[in-house]
Symmetry: C2
Subunit: 111 residues, 2 copies
Amino acid sequence: MDATSRAFTALADPTRRALIARLIEGEAQFTELASPFAMSKPAVVKHLRALEAAGLVERLGTKARPVYRFLPHGLVAPLDWIEQHRRLWEENLDSFATYARSLTDQEGGTA
Amino acid sequence: MDATSRAFTALADPTRRALIARLIEGEAQFTELASPFAMSKPAVVKHLRALEAAGLVERLGTKARPVYRFLPHGLVAPLDWIEQHRRLWEENLDSFATYARSLTDQEGGTA
DNA sequence: ACAGATGATAACTCTCAGGTTAATTAACTT
DNA sequence: AAGTTAATTAACCTGAGAGTTATCATCTGT
């Protein structure tokens, strides 16, 4: 699976988006990260692993009491994809407008 | 499922991203949309349904020979989410920098 | 009217994501 | 060193996603 797909997949889950939102406030231990959610702790662990795999989060400190940190670079791939395609869309609109105008100018009539 | 999750889910699949990229070039019928892909036609139909459900694509014209069109508004929700959280991250960095500077200024030492 | 092509649906398989409980590991505390 | 707690891993269940083939419906052209 490519990096862009992994990033979009990671962001597709509301629990994972909430974890990111929390980590933007600052680093946190697992217990604090898991506390807002109704689900079991292993479920939260899996979400954190998905975020790690997508490069959105890293684990620091000891193995038994790690601290989780947000990695903003993980947002670059999905952001770039969306912005590039929005730009392509706008350019396409421009070129269509230019084309339509050239028709109008040359032939003096609407289709 | 909320709209943001649907949009990110739709964008998580490379086939669906390729369909969007094609539709940005202009409207297209089903056969043309499906032709670049190795998979069967029903598989492409399902991807198009996912894009419709996410508000990224609409179907126009007759039911039997529809034309598919890209809907740029479908990119708004995921783009907003990413940009908002990137902004929050930057503000958080700023506030941390401000806080750290205030400590340095007042107490004249590094922690 | 009917033959061919186009697009969609039905029904099925298979894999994987997201959840559970129970067991395990690793660090602190005393 | 023994016990406690925090975090993870193991093993399992279930449902949804992505694909298949076969069938059906609807236009189009002659």
